[in-house]
Symmetry: C2
Subunit: 245 residues, 2 copies
DNA sequence: TAGTGGTCTAGACCACCTA
DNA sequence: AGGTGGTCTAGACCACTAA
């Protein structure tokens, strides 16, 4: 309790060192998601810090979304919210502005040499081979989305042995549960193109009908590229929503 | 100094009431951008509150981006950052993924009864009249965007007297500088449609060519709807980018 | 009723900036 | 040197929750 600051820079403010200390406990699993962390007064005693300082450390972590306070009950480690992680990355909505879970089906999974745009996005050599998933998504209103997804083979070893039926509807929680790969952010670029023969066939539209092309590079919390995907859907039924703040 | 809380709900915590008080002073222009607000100890004296409480009120406003602290100098009202406010709300990019300032020209400004979608977005009665701007934007690569913008007349009084040439390329800083209306967030919905006669003519494309329709509702920091706009551009040259985190 | 977080106070010392 | 914000302490009372 006296040398707990050893790990971090002693020049840092107390509350920041406590913040790191708490984050370490969470990361190590000592304080698991859904469980309360020690009370403020317990932390006060344990680390010999004033309440105000403890509160400040906790405040920052609450702001960052790692902790949740509940008056009268305690302060809890936030359990990663699959819904949230879904709605965070899912931008397509129906006419009422609501998003809902699309059905999805993996058509194939194989090892391939990705196109340059994918290997570049993933930060791999141009001739490195990747896992490629082909996927068809059915949205609530019946519209379709066809996707190609490239994953760095090194981080998803064993994925090709997973039976196609065992893939989850939502891939990011699946990546996390099976391979420990957690998506933290993504960049999407949206363009319009016209459907080639294969795409128009898959989507059930006419040749050269406009399609929306969404290219996404998804990164881990340490900014490592973990996934590149390209999705295409019929432009006519497409609706995309974002909040800017 | 004793009954300053009159305007707000006495049941609210002190620091929240002080926060509103400060926001009012900023909004009224009493504490202008770039200038320091009174020091913490001055606020302590003036409102007869403890320093900690004052600091907490200021903390929240710093988090919201309205104030800026500078150790040893004071706490300042943040001067709106033109670049930031531009790149924050501008999502269209060129093929290299870079955004650049588009030229824009206001074609007309008039008082009109808005379509239901606009009055609903602005939270106005269906027969309330609004200021309507028509605007043409030229992007870096030569592509065009035609926009209709609806503003609640009450908050932008005098706008119709502004000569069209005096409108800024970027409207949000213009709103802020001239009318004290500060945009804090926005929601955009993106769909694809086909060009009608007027649109295809304006954009220089063929009738029924696909166009991108971007509907945006922009809100102030207090969540009041301040602007509704609908932008249309040729789908072929369209490129939209977002970061999700 | 006991314990939790939510709010608030009234000090203290420090690092930094301006003059 | 004097004033500013940055950090930290050591209490107090309240509202809420659970047993």
């Amino acid at each position: 309790m006296s040398d707990w600051k050893a790990g971090s820079d002693a020049r840092l403010p107390l509350y920041q060192r406590l913040r790191e200390e708490i984050m370490d406990r969470i990361a190590s699993g000592e304080w698991p998601p859904g469980e309360p962390i020690p009370t403020e007064s317990e932390l006060t005693r344990r680390y010999n810090i004033a309440v105000g300082t403890v509160r400040r450390a906790i405040d920052t972590l609450v702001n960052e979304g790692l902790l949740e306070r509940s008056q009268g009950r305690g302060t809890f480690v936030r359990r990663p919210d699959f819904d949230a992680s879904f709605f965070r990355f899912f931008r397509q909505v129906n006419a009422e502005g609501e998003a809902s879970v699309p059905d999805s089906r993996i058509l194939s999974a194989s090892l391939q040499t990705p196109p340059p745009v994918a290997s570049k996005a993933l930060g791999l050599a141009h001739d490195a081979s990747c896992i490629c998933l082909e996927r068809l998504r059915t949205l609530e209103d019946g519209s379709l989305l066809t996707e190609k997804i490239w994953l760095p083979a090194a981080r998803f070893s064993g994925l090709l042995k997973v039976p196609l039926e065992e893939f989850d509807n939502l891939l990011y929680p699946f990546y996390e549960a099976r391979f420990g790969q957690r998506i933290g952010s993504a960049r999407e670029t949206l363009t319009i193109a016209s459907a080639d023969a294969i795409t128009s066939d898959t989507l059930g539209i006419a040749l050269n009908d406009p399609v929306v092309v969404i290219e996404r590079t998804a990164l881990g919390y340490d900014q490592t590229p973990l996934e590149y995907r390209c999705s295409m859907g019929a432009a006519a039924t497409f609706r995309y929503q974002i909040e800017i703040s």
